[in-house]
């Protein structure tokens, strides 16, 4: 196995091309040289005049101002600050290369973003009820949270599942659970996102099987599978097998969907967890795009035509507190991705160049203290995601530092999106921050800094290698520690935590998971195991093992196995036996 991983890395290293650098930016293409000279002269005069005078009376509140990623912010931004930007080449028009201003020409004037609230807790029946509640209240897409055992490849009755069944998401061990989860929800009418990675191929297989039972062919299914293992080793850390074979399975899914599920997004290349683990916005941007580059490279290396799969690659960003930096991140991401796909991978279809994305407000920014303040934080973050041009959005609930959200809390989170969409006016104009000297300057800065990280990763032989060597993991842990130190030193204010505190807070109502869920899930699992055709299940598991060993695409055999009611744990065991179990050392 270790040998196979090395070979994979070597093969990739020899065929790699460079990520394109941002174009040279020398002559200012928008302003005449004379006009630029006049602006620079005026800036100098202002700096020595009004600014110096003001600073003489009252010094700045801080020694220096910088973004949350540590980008120093000048005293003022003006047209000369973006003099190296070529408007038509670097900014341009929405729906046109390099897509800085958005993926679509009309953006929200044509269609609002999808309001997709992530949900999953307790039994499949509990979550089915929450799905139906959300659909009634205006969500336009479903998003499934699985419990920890399902994410890690353990059945509900495995010793590792002790205390975890249904706690952090919905409990799923067999196809029967997914049948109950989507009971009464027409899968040809909704789109469903499934946040699952190590066992993503099993979840997709179950979804395809449930749809077939509803009479919906797989080609008609719309939705997204997260299926991004690189960020698991980097940040979220729910894994089964080592990185190289796990990335291979991710790409099996991409390949399978390119052929059989044209409406499905087979991967959601995720910055969210990278950011939540402590990365800065620049690191999130860089590491996530580097993950995407690795998946594209792996698929190209196995002989897929880039335009055959790239149009269905999707992304997932965190939206944190620094408003303008977040907006700039979305804009820079689209530009880097478009240039990379076109110049490095030679994509020709327009759809291959588009960075379509889901976004979620920053869970890590929420505070247990004064929890109602979280509604305000979430609203500002959601607003930034919309100004950044997201295609889909989840807003966090105010109570999520305590537990999974209550129905009331989720409703406020959803209403926040509806207020932004229907009352704020932001839906009426496309990319309104374009041309802001600050936002354009910051977009360029983030692009430049992210490309430096990506170049370093390219030099290491790509993200798979970098992950195996622990590079992004170390960088993120460092940033997380620095952030915590800043908070404790009072250099970074967190309202209600290290400033503006209130004593004696009223506790809020929170969701408790029924402790009988685990017992009922185990009972159902045992019924399924007892009633299925045991020989058919065993044969299906053997077929997965053969595919995994031969290196052929495992997806068809996993679909057969879930239909035979092989369990999630049994299928995961096959992968663990073939590839071994991944463990991380206890470095900190």
């Amino acid at each position: 196995m270790a040998k196979a991983a090395k070979e994979l890395g070597r093969k990739a290293a020899t065929t790699r091309k460079d990520t394109p650098a941002a174009p040279e930016r020398a002559e200012h293409p928008t302003f005449a040289r004379e006009e630029l000279q006049r602006i620079l002269a005026e800036r100098e005069s202002w700096t020595e005049g009004e600014l110096a005078e003001a600073l003489g009376k009252l010094v700045h509140r801080k020694a220096r101002f910088e973004t949350d990623s540590g980008i120093p912010i000048p005293d003022v931004l003006d047209p000369a600050s973006v003099r190296e930007t070529d408007y038509l080449r670097d900014v341009g028009y929405p729906g046109r290369y390099p897509f800085t201003r958005g993926t679509q020409p009309t953006m929200y004037r044509g269609r609002l973003w999808t309001m997709r609230q992530f949900a999953g807790f307790g039994s499949p029946e509990d979550t089915n009820g929450r799905f139906k509640y959300l659909l009634q209240h205006g969500v336009t897409g479903l998003s499934t949270a699985f419990d920890m055992p399902a994410l890690m490849g353990y059945d509900a009755d495995h010793p590792m599942s002790r205390g975890e069944v249904g706690k952090e998401g919905v409990a799923v061990s067999t196809l029967r659970d997914l049948e109950l989860l989507f009971d009464g929800i027409p899968l040809d009418e909704v789109t469903t996102s499934m946040t699952i990675n190590a066992t993503a191929v099993i979840a997709l297989a179950m979804y395809v099987a449930v749809a077939e039972k509803q009479g919906v062919p797989r080609a008609k299914l719309g939705g997204t599978l997260q299926n991004d293992m690189l960020k698991e080793y980097i940040a979220q850390k729910e894994w089964m097998i080592p990185p190289a074979p796990a990335v291979k399975v991710n790409c099996d899914v991409i390949e399978f969907c390119a052929k059989e599920m044209p409406r499905w997004n087979p991967v959601s290349i995720s910055g969210y967890h990278i950011r939540e683990a402590g990365a800065t916005a620049v690191q999130e941007l860089a590491f996530t795009l580097a993950d995407g580059i690795e998946y594209v490279q792996e698929c190209v290396d196995r002989g897929l035509e880039v335009d055959a799969f790239a149009p269905r690659l999707s992304f997932f960003w965190d939206v944190h507190n620094d408003f303008f930096e977040e907006v700039a991140k979305f804009r820079a991401a689209r530009r880097i991705w478009a240039r990379t796909l076109k110049e490095r991978f030679g994509a020709r279809k327009k759809e291959s160049l588009l960075l379509r994305t889901h976004a979620q407000t920053a869970g890590v920014s929420l505070t247990a203290q004064q929890p109602y303040n979280n509604v305000v934080r979430t609203a500002l973050q959601a607003f930034a995601a919309v100004l950044g041009g997201t295609q889909s959005l989840h807003t966090n609930s105010l109570d999520e530092t305590y537990a999974l959200p209550t129905e009331e809390a989720v409703t406020i989170a959803l209403r926040t999106q509806q207020i932004i969409a229907h009352e704020s006016g932001v839906d009426r104009v496309v990319d309104p921050l374009a041309g802001s000297h600050y936002v354009e300057w910051l977009t360029d800065e983030m692009e430049r800094r992210a490309l430096e990280h990506i170049r370093r990763i390219d030099e290491m032989g790509g993200m798979l290698r970098a992950v195996e060597e622990g590079y992004p993991q170390r960088e993120i842990a460092e940033s997380a520690y620095r952030y915590q130190r800043d908070v404790e030193a009072g250099e970074r204010i967190v309202v209600g935590v290290n400033a503006f505190r209130t004593e004696a807070e009223e506790p809020i109502r929170i969701l408790k998971i029924d402790e009988t869920v685990a017992r009922r899930q185990v009972e159902r699992l045992r019924e399924v195991r007892a009633s299925r055709d045991a020989a058919r299940a065993a044969a299906a598991l053997s077929a997965i093992e053969r595919a995994a060993r031969d290196g052929t695409n495992v997806v068809p055999s996993v679909i057969d196995a879930v239909k035979a009611y092989a369990t999630l744990g049994e299928i995961s065991d096959v992968f663990r036996e073939v590839h071994g179990v991944y463990r991380e050392d206890g470095r900190f």
Binding site: M148, P149, L151, M152, Y154, P159, M160, S161, R162, G163, E164, K167, E168, E232, Q236, K237, E238, W239, E276, A277, G278, V364, T367, A368, Q369, T401, Y402, A403, L404, A477, A480, Y481, Q484, V487, E488, V494, V497, N498, P507, I510, K512, I513, R583, E584, D585, G586, R587, F588
Partner: protein, 140 residues
Amino acid sequence: MSPAKERPLRIVVAKPGLDGHDRGAKIIARALRDAGFEVIYTGLHQTPEMIVAAAIQEDADAIGLSIMSGAHMTLFPAVVELLGEKDAKDVVVFGGGIIPQDDVPKLKEKGVAEVFLPGSPTQGIIDWIRANIRPRVAAA
């Protein structure tokens, strides 16, 4: 051997259960080390049995548990009970994570010495350790 008092405290920082959110555990581990404690971090996805075995093998004075998955009511008491079974009841167990306030007294009843909720400064945890944990009188 020098008197027990002079020995720095040995603390096992552990991640029980299946969730992979190790940002907090790693920050705590590093802050405790910077404060002069000897720190052993178990890594992720540990069973109570693995954590207790590590604490005994490392001759730890305390175990700090970090959990975000909601399994704290099962896994924290399991660690305390196992320590009792292994004649290591005097190893102090404390913890933190996404834990509802009303679970805190229940965890304390089951032998968890202290629970730190989200937003707790690392200095507060360090101060609590200094005030409440003494080196174990060697079982040797």
